[in-house]
């Protein structure tokens, strides 16, 4: 079996992740208060690891949630966007699109100009900024095309116009270098179970200290339990029981990536495999890749094969060749209008640190076989 659906969730995980989960479940939840099943400082140590991936100094500005979707809901509903204008890219996932378009607030949502593959020329953004523009939402690495946006340049524009720059790194954190400081990112949203190789049920966000986000989710957090009314200046976004097992898994996987793989090696490894795969696929007749040589690439592509439905291609790949891919709109509907794939979607393949060249070569042979029928 060849697993090429790492953009949905990464498989395999480092062996230490299994050990961390087992330890977390087996350890006695000692303590007089919440009896968290974890060693001391697990949560802060895990945040410390995340801060190394995004280059932030204050790990206190990182908050854990159940995933990127919850993060975006907390942020969009807490940002006080009523009667403001926001710019979003066509690459946004429904975790951004749906909270915005279903908000009870009156938000003027405008799509950022882009080319046929969804790539944004940062200079184009300036012409779309109006006096009440408050935020720019950018999907760093599209989960459909794999195209990577120039967040450093977009961040410069956001800073120049005093806009909140909100970046979705669900597909890029753990495989592409990200620097919150140099990109002027105000809010960064991540998930644990993709390239960071943690498990599902955990994500989070980084919030720059000066950005005012109201708390919209309330509950217990073992602090100041006598207070019923919460001071909104306290950024108590983490309420309810934390997903300690997933945090233990993420701590372990990020320890592995930082200390054993090393981040520069990790990023180079994924880029090298991505470019190798792309260089081979782009030569295949009857294969339409929704990207080209001009773009920076994350470790995933979408494609279609002439004369075949994408759902059939994905079905054939799994049932005839034991290759796992994803088909459809990938929960990011807006980009498909650009790609002219709104009707049937695309087939998506996505690599991970553990994908081997042997698997990539086998996949390329399979694609040649299917496209030559």
């Amino acid at each position: 079996m060849i697993y090429l659906n790492n953009a949905a969730t990464s498989y395999r995980k480092p062996p230490c992740v299994n050990d961390a989960i087992n330890k977390c479940l087996l350890d006695l939840p000692v303590g007089q208060f919440r009896s968290n099943q974890c060693e001391n400082n697990l949560i802060l140590d895990c945040k410390d690891n995340i801060s190394k991936f995004i280059n932030v100094k204050k790990k206190e500005n990182i908050f854990f949630t159940s995933g990127a979707t919850e993060s975006f809901n907390l942020i969009i509903n807490g940002l006080k966007l009523n009667n403001t204008h926001v710019l979003i890219s066509v690459n946004e996932h429904n975790s951004v699109i749906r909270p915005l378009y279903n908000s009870k607030e009156n938000i003027d949502i405008e799509l950022i100009k882009c080319d046929e593959f969804g790539y944004i020329n940062p200079l184009d953004i300036e012409s779309q900024i109006i006096p009440n523009t408050k935020a720019i939402f950018i999907n760093h690495c599209s989960n459909v095309t794999g195209i990577v946006q120039d967040i450093n340049k977009i961040g410069e524009i956001a800073k120049k116009h005093n806009l909140i720059f909100i970046v979705d790194v669900a597909q890029s954190l753990g495989c592409i270098k990200i620097d919150v400081e140099s990109a002027n990112i105000g809010i960064l949203v991540f998930t644990a179970h993709k390239s960071l190789m943690g498990i599902s049920g955990l994500g989070g966000f980084y919030l720059k200290g000066n950005i005012d986000v109201d708390i919209v989710k309330f509950g217990g957090n073992a602090k100041n339990s006598h207070l019923i009314k919460i001071d909104k200046n306290n950024k108590e976004f983490e309420v309810g029981t934390q997903n300690i097992v997933a945090i233990a898994a993420l701590k372990s996987s990020t320890d592995f990536l930082i200390n054993e793989v090393k981040l520069n090696t990790l990023y180079a490894n994924e880029l090298k495999k991505t470019l190798y795969l792309y260089s081979k696929l782009k030569k295949v007749d009857n294969l339409i890749i929704y990207s080209n040589d001009n773009y920076n690439k994350g470790p995933l592509f979408s494609f279609n094969i002439n004369y075949l439905d994408p759902s059939d291609v994905s079905y054939i790949l799994y049932n005839s060749y034991e290759v796992i891919t994803r088909v459809g709109l990938h929960c990011a509907p807006l980009i498909h209008k650009n790609l002219n794939t709104l009707n049937k979607g695309t087939v998506r393949i996505s690599l991970s640190y553990y994908t081997t060249y042997s698997e990539i070569d086998d996949f390329i042979k399979i694609i040649h076989e299917i496209t030559s029928i």
Binding site: D312, I316, N319, G328, G345, E369, I370, S372
Partner: protein, 95 residues
């Protein structure tokens, strides 16, 4: 050849309003069985693949699978279950 079970697929295609079901058989689907599916509509048969792929497509439903496997997939548009019943009643006739 007998139908063992029918399951609603966990691989939903509900994004585009197709709902899928898997039909499991007690033996592998051979070429004779696959060609008997012409009774439901135009048959596509891709013989050169490692495991040949077949598909019957209509506006209301589709049937697809791969030769030598023991299950096939039925997609029903708008989840109109009458079409699934029709397929189940007729799929083994003339085979």
């Amino acid at each position: 050849m007998e139908i063992i079970k029918v399951e609603k697929s966990n691989e939903i295609c509900a994004e585009i309003n197709w709902h899928s079901y898997d039909i499991f058989f007690d033996e592998q689907m051979d070429k004779k069985f696959i060609f008997s599916l012409k009774k439901f509509g135009t048959l596509m048969y891709l013989s050169l693949l490692k495991k040949p792929f077949f598909k019957v497509n209509t506006n209301e439903y589709l049937i697809k699978g791969t030769q030598y496997n023991t299950k096939l997939r039925v997609g029903i548009f708008n989840n109109n279950i009458e079409y699934l019943s029709f397929i189940l009643e007729n799929i083994l006739i003339l085979y």
